[in-house]
């Protein structure tokens, strides 16, 4: 068996090399299929590894509570809100919280100006605790302290992107910027955090919470987000349940009503992301299977041509003693070799493509190919080669020696 396999491989290699260009063209279908799957896998693997890291950095022990308006309420013009009393309710009545902070967003991206430079940025007000909850630290100057908020000081902390866009010096502490017609003193610059899923985390301006409230004016209209971290990560489900029941009661929701808020954990975010990746992978997988099918048919076609071309050779081999399985093996191994060749070329091409794409998109994580995808791609190519090689190989093996010798 091993002997027959080795002898067949020898002649298969010779025959594939004898028709170099034809062999290459034959394998194109497989090449494209495998290249496609490897490119996508290498990109999504890199992406999800980096996103998982980023979620980890975000803190798997943190929760975000935000208001949520069901569609049928929105049509009635009702807007759900979270406010300071919800915050203090959670703060005082839920156990196991290590830090908690409100976040109050400006209604829309606002203009920030320094000298003649202007930029639009996300502006929100929060408290000192934000530092612990969001792992946001000042690189220059200092972060907010409670007195900033209490006295509604006109101070701000800038993200690195904002500092750059305003043309502020590296150490911008002490400069004044104009936000919504008011002047704010820069007291700190945040450590750069990079991007999370294409969203620049350094494009932000942080104000003291109560300063923001006074800027927005009308108190009853405010809608805050509440971010908190739990002391013990395994406690998250308990905390989530407790927050939920407290808020439902406080908002006077009955059994039939849906929640008018959402509690989001880092884990949920990463699960959502994983679902997106899975969907993309499935769609690409579908396209790739079609391409592998077409590739397989291409191999079958060329193998049938090859059997016809070599009918006389098959006759000669049979005349000098080749049995059915010798001929069958020879053609099957040739089909296998073609498809594996396509698989390997596709693998290299796909990886190259993945690296290229990853490099051409700024801040995209580097492409990686996991071992399982290599095994899968080569396994699939081999499978396709054998399945589509069987018919031509059987045709060759079943030729009558005399008919074959007389052919041509």
């Amino acid at each position: 068996m091993l002997f027959a396999l080795m002898e067949s491989s020898r002649s298969a290699v010779a025959s594939v090399l004898a028709h170099g260009l034809r062999s290459f063209l034959t394998t194109l279908g497989i090449v494209i299929g495998v290249a496609g799957v490897i490119a996508v896998v290498s990109l999504t693997e890199g992406l999800s590894a980096s996103v998982t890291d980023q979620f980890q950095a975000l803190g798997t022990d943190s929760l975000t509570v935000r208001s949520y308006t069901p569609i049928k309420d929105r049509m009635k013009g009702i807007q759900s809100r979270l406010n300071d009393s919800d915050l203090s309710l959670i703060e005082t009545r839920v156990e196991g919280i290590s830090s908690i902070t409100p976040i109050l967003f400006a209604r829309r991206a606002s203009q920030v100006r320094f000298g003649s430079q202007t930029t639009f940025s996300q502006i929100f007000g929060t408290t000192q605790a934000y530092q612990d909850v969001a792992q946001a630290y000042a690189e220059q100057g200092r972060f907010l302290v409670n007195s900033d908020s209490k006295t509604r000081r006109r101070v701000c902390i800038l993200g690195e992107t904002v500092r750059e866009q305003l043309g502020l010096p590296r150490n911008a502490v002490g400069e004044y910027v104009e936000i919504g017609k008011e002047w704010f003193k820069v007291i700190g610059i945040l450590e750069p955090k990079g991007e999370l899923m294409g969203f620049d985390q350094d494009d932000r301006v942080i104000l003291p919470y109560q300063t923001m409230q006074s800027l927005l004016g009308n108190q009853s209209q405010t809608d805050i987000q509440i971010q908190l971290t739990v002391a013990d990560q395994s406690n998250i489900p308990v905390v989530v349940a407790r927050v939920r029941s407290l808020l439902r009661k406080a908002h006077g929701l009955t059994r039939e009503d849906d929640d008018d808020f959402r509690i989001q954990t880092a884990e949920q975010l990463s699960e959502t992301f994983d679902r997106i990746i899975t969907t993309v992978t499935l769609v690409v997988g579908g396209i790739v299977s079609i391409s592998l099918l077409v590739g397989g048919i291409g191999i079958m076609n060329i193998m049938l041509v090859s059997v016809t071309e070599r009918t006389r050779e098959i006759g000669i081999c049979k005349a000098i003693g080749a049995k059915r399985h010798h001929i069958l093996m020879q053609f099957l191994v040739e089909a296998l070799l073609l498809s594996l060749l396509g698989g390997i070329i596709g693998l290299l091409l796909g990886y190259g493509l993945g690296v290229l794409i990853a490099m051409s998109i700024p801040s995209f994580p580097p492409a990686t190919i996991p071992l399982w995808s290599i095994v899968l791609a080569l396994g699939f190519s081999a499978f396709v080669g054998i399945i589509f090689g069987i018919l031509p190989a059987a045709k060759a093996a079943n030729l009558d020696p005399i008919d074959a010798l007389r052919y041509g």
């Binding site: 002898e7 000669i316 081999c317 049979k318 005349a319 000098i320 003693g321 049995k323 020696p401 005399i402």
Partner: protein, 230 residues
């Protein structure tokens, strides 16, 4: 005991509503180390006879004993094994594998016998030496003259040390000088102990043989012995 024993061998080809009796009741017995020629006009059944003797084809009826074994009823794989072990074919058109060099062509039958590469090469070199072609072992068939190609084919037939060498018009594609060369080789092989069966329609070639069997319309019309010219 005879090496080959044919009894009432028939081979029929059905073409639409008419049946061609390519062989029509052949009885013949061939002993070991005979040197025998099948002659006859075109269409008399010589090649059909050769194919059946060589186990490439099965008779429609009759008994064929080769080395005392009835091979008429064997299946394709069993016939392939007999061809590999007992028969050495030499064809008019050489029938070498076009993409394999002389050495590989000669080694090929040994693959089907499971002989390892080193041993294969050694045996093939011996056979090529026998036909005086050791200096051409890495030539492809299309880089060899007709006579050289036929000698490679003879080496390929010899390498398995078969009981019978079967040659169907072995010199049909060769000029007269090369023909003499090849026939001398057959003479020598017969003297070395091989059983040689040649199909031909040339009297000069038949005259090398010690026994001449004439076919006519699928029947044996004449079977006589003579002293070889060689």
């Amino acid at each position: 005991m005879a090496l080959i024993e044919l009894q009432a061998i028939e081979k029929h080809y059905v073409m639409g509503d008419q049946t061609v009796r390519a062989l029509d009741g052949i009885d013949i017995s061939i002993a070991s180390n005979e040197y025998i020629a099948f002659v006859g006009s075109s269409g008399s059944g010589k090649s059909t006879m050769m194919n059946i003797l060589g186990c490439l084809d099965r008779p429609s009826a009759g008994l064929y004993h080769l080395n005392g074994k009835n091979v008429a009823q064997l299946n394709q794989n069993e016939l392939a094994e007999i061809r590999n072990l007992e028969i050495g074919f030499i064809f008019q058109s050489f029938n070498l594998l076009p993409r394999a060099n002389a050495l590989s062509n000669v080694m090929q039958p040994l693959i089907y016998r499971g002989v390892a590469y080193k041993e294969r090469k050694k045996l093939a070199m011996t056979a090529l030496d026998r036909v005086n072609l050791v200096d051409r072992i890495d030539h492809l068939p299309n880089q060899l003259s007709g006579g050289q190609q036929q000698r490679v084919a003879i080496a390929r037939a010899l390498v398995t040390e078969p009981s019978i060498l079967l040659a169907d018009e072995p010199t049909g594609n060769l000029d007269s000088r090369t023909t003499i060369e090849i026939m001398k080789l057959f003479d020598e092989l017969q003297q070395e102990g091989h059983t040689v069966i040649v199909v031909t329609h040339e009297a000069e070639i038949a005259n090398h043989c010690h026994r001449i069997v004439e076919l006519k319309d699928g029947k044996i019309s004449n079977d006589h012995r003579q002293d070889g010219v060689s």
